[in-house]
């Protein structure tokens, strides 16, 4: 909200505070100052001057030497660079000693050898408006010699963020009241508008009917006849313009002024355009309404409207109607001042996407006690500015809603919550009284308070404690720290485990990515692991429509971005959440780790040739090393369009995740130079394999012996089949086997195309003794016999 210091100063004298002091005062009262703009000049040393004559500067093409009348009787010589004036113009003159906004001090001096005794100013130099490329030419009737700030008063504009609980601060009077409380400065009392001296008269049914008392508990109308609508006087226009409101006509300006002055939002109808009395009712379903902004709104039954006997004439508290608004030709007006319930206004404003200064105040709550005061102030202003005669009564329907009114404060509780055991009852009372609360009674540790009607936010004891905290500030509260032991929870273990994986991958040369969890529909085809993401109902753009069912799409986008930067050795991982739609409705969230790998196994360096590009076994190996459990790679029956070699990664009967090669067609789309491999792992499955402390296994006491075996097998016999054979061998001396060579010749020269040669090393050991050669030979031979029986293998002996 824009607040004018000069407007505020009509309520209390703030001259003893500097701007930074005021800014701090507001900030520490919980009103954030988002901007400060100084307008105009405070100094008297800028005066109106008249240009008598001017001539070309002898030494500078762009300068003129002016003789001006500054009101002193003696002509004054000024050198000036502007060109937009003529003799006889009235312009602002900064005399030597003047300090302009921004701290620019004016001195007597010479410009290119010619005396210049001051400076003629542009509007921008005086802090009132934009650069227009020349001097500010003032009205012809501006009196020469008059201080400029008498004609254009200096002002300071504060841009304030008023928190939603403090609707009472949405006016100059409200802020002045707060500043008075904080500074102890007296409010200029005659400007308390809350009370009205005009007699209230219960409105007759044909004049006002409230059919929705919950949404509108109180409605008042004042009829003023014979007004002459025209432009507002200068002071009123200036007030509104200073806080960024556009003057429209005197009546509309007055209602806006009253709103910004005291927070009561008003509306004026052209009485002659109303058909019959005012009806406050809920809109009919689908009822159409043409508002002041020129838009037609379709209303619903929970929108409150002000209607005449024919049609809605205003969306209550939000916006008036085009047809019944006050124009230059209006003669008779009906001035509305009412209290509308916040929730209804909020709902309507939200649904229609229509917000106004009025709805902003009503939806936060206005002071119900000032409804008639607002009407009264506006009436006075209308009569003095637009003339006419007001009915001597204000018609009132309904009543001001009841407020909480009283709160009891347990002062010990306040001390405890604030952590200020030494705070006295007197101190507490002084703070609350200063804020306008009235002490009804007080016992030893308890006091009863009457809440002023404008403080809708003070309803519970804790609300009063907040006020105390706000006033004393946290400097007054001693810092305290307690150490509380917290048991390690599942979340802690998961975090530590995940950090371990992250660090391990970073140490292996992988970069951690963090990609947005909301991805585009087009990215879904890059997902690994199956499963459907969760679509958002109201996405902001088609780039972010769905909560990702897989992290891989984000890593693919990351790869694409880096390829565009010329990088072709890609090592990325991301650890984070994915979202899966469940078949029976609802969703599941789980943590996953995704890895993307492409390009040379190591970065190129001065040493030797370009390293080999990684193959899929590189990624399998990386995962193997990361998980430190034997992984079984089980090829999937199908690949989705963007992948080849899609396989499940398993440890025993646990699914750890999936691995695949990006389809070359997809890789070409992102201009990948090398094959791209991806994997996605389930964090919970990885963790399952690493629970509990490791159990130590005795080291073998006797040496083992190895035997190699080479065999020829069909080219399509998977390694996993052979590994499975060895894994199931139960011979007491057999410890295990490892593959050490795989050879195939696709040309068919050294070996038939449909055959391959594989070689394994088998290890034998006994826990009791060093083995004899013959024992090992016997065991080896037994296993080879079984091998040839089980697998389509020919052992080379």
């Amino acid at each position: 909200m824009q607040v004018s210091l000069s407007w505020l100063s009509t309520h209390l004298d703030l001259s003893s505070y500097t701007i930074p002091q005021l800014s701090d005062l507001l900030t520490f009262a919980g009103v954030e100052v988002e901007g400060i703009e100084e307008r105009g000049v405070a100094t008297d040393k800028v005066v109106v001057a008249q240009i008598q004559s001017f001539e070309q500067h002898p030494n500078a093409d762009k300068l003129s030497v002016c003789q001006v009348d500054d009101g002193s009787g003696t002509p004054r010589q000024i050198v000036c660079g502007a060109k937009n004036f003529k003799a006889g113009d009235k312009v602002p003159l900064a005399l030597p000693g003047a300090v302009l906004p921004g701290g620019f001090a004016i001195k007597e001096g010479k410009l290119r050898g010619v005396d210049s005794l001051g400076m003629l100013c542009s509007g921008k130099e005086l802090g009132i408006g934009e650069d227009t490329g020349g001097l500010l030419i003032m009205a012809a009737d501006s009196p020469v010699g008059t201080p400029f700030n008498q004609l254009n008063p200096a002002d300071v504009l504060f841009d304030l963020e008023i928190t939603p609980n403090r609707s009472d601060l949405l006016s100059h009077l409200g802020l002045a009241r707060e500043l008075a409380a904080l500074t102890g400065l007296p409010l200029k009392g005659e400007r308390h508008h809350a009370n009205s001296s005009t007699k209230a008269k219960a409105a007759a049914e044909e004049q006002i009917v409230i059919k929705a008392a919950e949404a509108c508990p109180l409605y008042t109308a004042r009829i003023i006849k014979g007004v002459k609508v025209g432009p507002s006087p200068e002071w009123l226009r200036r007030r509104l313009e200073s806080i960024g409101l556009r003057p429209i006509n005197s009546i509309v300006d007055i209602t806006n002024y009253v709103m910004m002055e005291m927070g009561q939002s008003l509306h004026c109808f052209d009485l002659n355009k109303l058909n019959g009395g005012i009806v406050v009712r809920m809109a009919a379903e689908g009822e159409k309404f043409l508002a002041l902004d020129g838009q037609t709104y379709e209303l619903k039954t929970d929108d409150l409207v002000i209607a005449d006997s024919h049609r809605p004439v205003a969306i209550a508290g939000v916006m008036g109607g085009e047809e019944t608004g006050v124009t230059e030709s209006t003669v008779n007006v009906l001035l509305e001042s009412a209290y509308f319930a916040p929730s209804g206004i909020r709902r309507t404003s939200r649904r229609l996407g229509l917000s106004s200064d009025s709805s902003y105040r009503f939806e936060r709550g206005i002071d119900p006690q000032q409804v008639q005061g607002g009407s009264e102030l506006a009436t006075k202003l209308i009569l003095s500015i637009a003339g006419g005669t007001a009915e001597d009564v204000v018609q009132v329907a309904g009543a001001a809603p009841a407020l909480v009114g009283e709160v009891t404060l347990d002062e010990n509780r306040a001390r405890k919550l604030l952590g200020t055991p030494d705070m006295t009852g007197d101190e507490i009372h002084a703070i609350l009284e200063k804020l306008g609360l009235t002490k009804k009674s007080a016992s030893r540790h308890e006091s009863h308070w009457t809440i002023p009607s404008y403080r809708l936010d003070l309803q519970r004891p804790v609300d009063l404690i907040e006020e105390i905290a706000r006033v004393i500030g946290l400097d007054r509260v001693p810092s305290r720290q307690v150490a509380v032991a917290s048991p390690v929870d599942a979340a802690d273990r998961t975090y530590d485990f995940a950090m371990g994986l992250r660090q391990s991958l970073a140490a292996r040369g992988f970069f951690e990515a963090q990609t947005l969890r909301l991805i585009a529909d087009a990215q879904l085809a890059d997902s690994l692991g199956g499963g459907q993401g969760v679509a958002v109902k109201n996405p902001l753009s088609e780039d972010h429509t769905t909560l990702r069912p897989s992290i891989v799409p984000g890593l693919v986008a990351t790869a694409a971005l880096n390829i565009r930067q010329g990088l072709h050795r890609l090592r990325f991982f991301e650890l984070g959440r994915v979202f899966l739609t469940l078949p029976k409705g609802g969703s599941r969230e789980e943590e996953r780790l995704a890895v993307l790998l492409s390009g040379p196994v190591s970065p190129t360096s001065w040493h030797g040739r370009e390293p080999q590009p990684a193959d899929i076994h590189e990624l399998v190996g990386q995962i193997q090393n990361l998980t430190r459990t034997p992984i079984e790679v089980r090829p999937a029956k199908e690949n989705s369009a963007n992948f080849l070699l899609t396989s499940e990664l398993r440890a025993g009967n646990r699914i750890l995740g999936w691995i695949a090669q990006m389809h070359p067609a997809r890789a070409r789309e992102i201009n990948a130079r090398h094959p791209v491999y991806v994997a996605e792992l389930l964090l919970s499955a990885l963790r399952q394999g690493s629970t509990g402390p490791t159990k130590f296994e005795e080291l073998p006491r006797f040496p083992g012996m190895t035997r190699d075996v080479a065999m020829e097998v069909p080219a399509d016999l998977p390694h996993a089949k052979v590994a499975a054979f060895f894994a199931t061998q139960k011979h007491p001396l057999f410890v295990g086997a490892e593959v050490f060579d795989v050879f195939a010749d696709p040309t068919g020269t050294k070996m038939a195309k449909d055959r391959k040669s594989i070689a394994w090393t088998l290890t034998y050991r006994s826990a009791e003794k060093t083995l004899e050669t013959a024992e090992v030979d016997a065991a080896h031979s037994a296993i080879l016999t079984a091998l040839e029986k089980t697998l389509p293998a020919t052992v080379r002996r």
């Binding site: 909301l518 996405p539 050795r569």
Partner: protein
């Protein structure tokens, strides 16, 4: 024989001197000390030496044999040393090291989150988590944010067709934690993603990262809040850092504050930078949690607590002087490798 031995010794030592490699050395050994070597041949003549000379000749023979053996050993060592020196000849040690698997890096957000978590864990906070797809109740109602609150609309919040939403803050984890709690105290932190329906630009992301904190017990005071967060921010930004608390408003805390820290920006005066929101848990939150639990573990008459929340993306930007928040989600390696620490 004695003179023969002397001349053999001289010849052997000369041959050793001339030997330039292992094989030449071995030839010398075979020529003099081998089975058919000249020293061996002479020693076989010992039996013909008269008894009175045997001692002298024997001693000479030993001396010659020892001299040659030692000569061979010495020469062997010298040859080895020369070879060893040659092995490193021509190596330019100033060349860059081999890259191995290369250098990776943790994302700066991970690093800052971990720093915050480690700091808060030292203060006895345990980790907690909750779903990112939340119910309106956990995200708003239970946090004292009424149904018609401005934040609760489809302009600012992402909704799912089934009425659930993407949590707008990690504060929903406060509720999740209190719902599931078995006893007091509760002292948790919850790092996590949150969502707001903002266009992505230099200072906004639609998905961002927060860190939530909650401490609930009997007699938790504003002093605890102040002490804890002052300590935290001084651990993060340095011991002397000025921290200030400005009164503010949040629906789920009362009183509420925003926290500023005073930081130097490069080439500028130190200024206050907004860094977090905090406050004492509003009793209405406890009441709502009790209703859901069906008990009074969080008796608003006796239970108090503080909560805080901070934006980790913003924290990372402030810490590292990152000028555009989009760097944090683009994962350009030129950006990431700056944080390889």
């Amino acid at each position: 024989m004695l003179s023969e031995l002397d001349s053999l010794k001289t010849a052997a030592l000369a041959a050793l001197d001339a030997a330039q490699d292992e094989s030449a050395l071995e030839a010398v050994r075979v020529n003099f000390l081998g089975k058919k070597g000249s020293v061996t041949a002479l020693s076989q003549g010992m039996k013909d030496v008269p008894v009175e000379q045997k001692k002298e000749v024997g001693a000479k023979l030993n001396e010659v044999r020892t001299a040659i053996t030692e000569g061979i050993d010495t020469k062997k060592l010298a040859l080895q040393a020369a070879q060893d020196a040659k092995a490193v000849e021509g190596i330019d040690i100033t060349l860059p090291g081999r890259p191995g698997a290369g250098v990776g890096a943790l994302h700066p957000l991970t690093q800052i989150r971990d720093l915050a978590i480690r700091t808060l864990r030292r203060m006895g906070f345990a980790l907690a988590e909750g779903p990112e797809i939340e119910t309106e109740w956990h995200c708003f109602d239970a946090l004292n944010t009424p149904a018609d609150h401005p934040a609760r609309n489809e302009k600012d919040t992402f909704y799912l067709p089934d009425g659930r939403l993407l949590r707008t803050h990690t504060s929903s984890v406060q509720i999740r934690t209190m719902e599931a709690a078995k006893a007091l105290p509760i002292r948790i932190i919850a790092p996590g993603a949150a969502y707001r329906r903002d266009e992505i630009d230099a200072t906004h992301l639609s998905v961002f990262n927060q860190l939530e904190g909650l401490y609930v017990n009997q007699d938790v005071s504003l002093g605890d809040l102040k002490g804890t967060l002052e300590y935290f921010f001084r651990e993060i930004f340095g011991a002397g850092t000025a921290v200030r608390f400005r009164p503010h408003f949040f629906p789920f805390t009362e009183p509420s504050f925003e926290i500023d820290v005073k930081l130097e920006a490069k080439g500028k005066d130190a200024r206050w930078i907004e860094i977090a929101g905090c406050g004492m848990v509003d009793p209405a939150v406890f009441t709502e949690v009790n209703k859901a639990r069906g008990d009074t573990l969080f008796d608003p008459e006796t239970t108090t607590g503080f909560a805080f929340g901070l934006g980790l993306d913003r924290l990372a930007m402030i810490m590292h002087g990152i000028t555009d928040i989009r760097h944090l989600i683009e994962n350009d390696v030129r950006f990431l490798q700056q944080f390889a620490a």
